[in-house]
């Protein structure tokens, strides 16, 4: 029966996401086994990354790329959150409909540009500007953080705008009728109403920034050294993987899988948090 087949195929397709997630975790965990056994949890705080000359063993610690990932994401979030909020407020409350539409489309197009373009543009056009203002040699943590911010702003702004748009007009109108200013309506009506969605969008953008590879790869400097100054070059987990994964051997390879596993688990937790926050609120509203 066609109907039966159709039904089974659709069920099988649906469960595929589950098997993919489990499969990714299982594969990364298996291949990371060697490094897990050798370094254990100390891997997180060890800052040496050196292969032996025969390429078979070595000492590998994930501290530098882990810190690099966290710091570049932190810088990006500090810049992106206020700007994205501002854009969302502009789109929902400030701009007239005739203005909001094209700006909305522009912001969404900005979100569609591939990350490698941001990286390349950042390397040739933005890094020199950062260098002339903050010193350093152009590429480094700060440049990576700023370009990462530019990249996640449109994404964050679009979701925040959608969340803010769910505020019923009648609530806003009641506040206006009481003599509230626009800012007071935003602060006391829209923000509390769409709080869950806004926080969700921030966490989703955070997850995206953590795992971003190409934009950061051009800009962070890709060197295994700890940062002492904000403009210093360093590396992040995705960038280390992008540049060195394919050439690594044995234990170093396993250490790379270990890093990939850490990144995967951390982003899994962050994204699930955002989703459950969203969903918890959504069902409460309905």
């Amino acid at each position: 029966m066609g109907g039966q087949f159709f039904r089974h195929f659709s069920f099988f397709s649906a469960t595929l996401s589950f098997f993919l997630l489990v499969g990714i975790f299982a594969i990364l965990f298996t291949y990371a086994q060697e490094a897990l056994a050798e370094f254990g949890i100390d891997f997180l705080s060890a800052d040496t990354w050196e292969a032996d000359e025969d390429d078979e063993g070595g000492v590998f610690g994930g501290y530098i790329p882990i810190i690099g990932t966290l710091l570049s994401t932190f810088i990006a979030m500090v810049i992106a959150v206020p700007l994205a909020m501002g854009i969302a407020i502009f789109l929902t409350e400030v701009a007239s409909e005739n203005l909001a539409k094209p700006v909305s489309i522009a912001i969404e197009l900005l979100a569609a540009i591939p990350s490698i373009i941001y990286g390349m543009w950042g390397l040739f056009y933005f890094a020199p500007i950062v260098q002339s203002i903050f010193g350093g040699n152009g590429v480094g943590l700060l440049t990576a953080g700023i370009v990462l911010a530019i990249m996640i702003i449109p994404f964050m702004a679009a979701i925040t705008r959608d969340a803010m748009n769910t505020t019923p007009n009648i609530l806003k109108e009641s506040a206006y009728a009481m003599g509230a200013t626009k800012f007071e309506v935003i602060k006391d009506v829209i923000m509390p109403y769409s709080k869950a969605g806004i926080i969700g969008s921030i966490i989703l953008a955070l997850g995206r920034a953590l795992g971003e590879t190409m934009a950061v790869a051009f800009l962070i400097g890709s060197v295994m050294s700890t940062v002492k100054h904000i403009t210093d070059p360093t590396t992040s987990i995705p960038v280390l993987l992008a540049n060195n994964f394919a050439e690594a051997q044995d234990l170093e390879m396993s250490a790379m899988y270990y890093l990939a596993l850490i990144l995967f688990v951390v982003s899994f937790i962050i994204i699930s948090m955002a989703k459950f926050y969203f969903l918890g609120r959504k069902s409460a509203v309905k």
């Binding site: 912001i107 941001y118 190409m214």
Partner: protein, 269 residues
């Protein structure tokens, strides 16, 4: 009076942030267009990378993205159909919906590592199939989510009308529900295609890259994005110019597909 001033300040700041956002869009597009037009020539479309062109890279990137769509579109659509039509309201469907959303945001480089372990390591060489699978894994969750959303917009009355005529569940889905949601799903497919055609990270160590024109998926496969990454970091001016030209073309492709998608959905309304 104070609160009126505060109001003005905040609204000005918000307008300013929108201006900053737009400025960056135009800045990026302007530099891309300028550098792109300066370095673009007819020769790059008829030569392969080995001769300083991008013909093989464009072909390779499109072949991988299209073949990935051949896997991702049916699987993603069927999964979306399950979530909305068969499993609607069930615990299982809601778990799968959440997991699929999580997959959608999984770091693309990790997917590259996963596919490397699965399809490159055991065979001992980079290959086009691995690149296709990596892209398909990125695409499936997006298709699931758009299908799911678009089917949810189809009024229940349509399904009921189908049932009243004695249609079987699968007939109703294929002949009524999917037809009603056609435009939305097509837009979702276009947008997700635009997303994966610009992906670099999942291809770095799956398909890797190839300087020559090839349609042999069992070996290293040419990729436009991976080439941009390599070319942009070479010190010589010719490579950089080619990288700009490639980046310009890639951006035009991605933005055009996006605009077509948006136009489709707008026309429907």
């Amino acid at each position: 009076m104070n609160r009126l001033v505060l109001n003005k300040i905040i609204l000005t700041l918000s307008t300013l942030s929108a201006l900053i956002g737009i400025t960056f869009l135009f800045w990026i597009l302007a530099t891309l267009t300028y550098k792109g037009i300066m370095s673009i020539s007819w020769a790059i479309f008829v030569n392969d990378l080995v001769n300083g062109g991008i013909r093989n890279l464009l072909a390779g990137q499109f072949v991988m993205a299209i073949l990935a769509s051949f896997i991702a579109v049916p699987v993603g659509m069927m999964a979306g159909i399950y979530l909305r039509e068969y499993g609607h309201g069930s615990k299982l469907a809601s778990i799968i919906r959440n997991l699929s959303d999580v997959m959608m945001s999984a770091p693309s480089i990790v997917i590259g590592v996963f596919v490397y372990a699965l399809l490159v390591d055991p065979f001992g060489s980079y290959n086009g199939y691995a690149g296709i699978v990596a892209l398909a894994i990125m695409m499936i969750p997006i298709i699931i989510s758009t299908t799911d959303n678009m089917l949810s917009l189809v009024p229940t009355e349509l399904r009921e009308a189908g049932m009243a005529l004695g249609g079987s569940k699968h007939k109703i889905i294929v002949q009524i529900v999917i037809k009603a949601a056609k435009v939305g799903i097509l837009t979702g497919i276009l947008l997700s295609f635009a997303r994966i055609i610009g992906e670099t990270a999942p291809l770095l160590f799956t398909s890797a890259n190839n300087q020559f024109f090839t349609m042999d998926l069992s070996g290293q496969f040419p990729s436009l994005t991976v080439s941009i990454y390599n070319l942009a970091t070479y010190p010589d001016e010719a490579s950089r110019e080619l990288a700009w030209a490639a980046a310009f073309i890639l951006t035009i492709i991605v933005l055009c597909i996006n605009l077509v998608g948006r136009f489709l959905i707008r026309n429907k309304k």
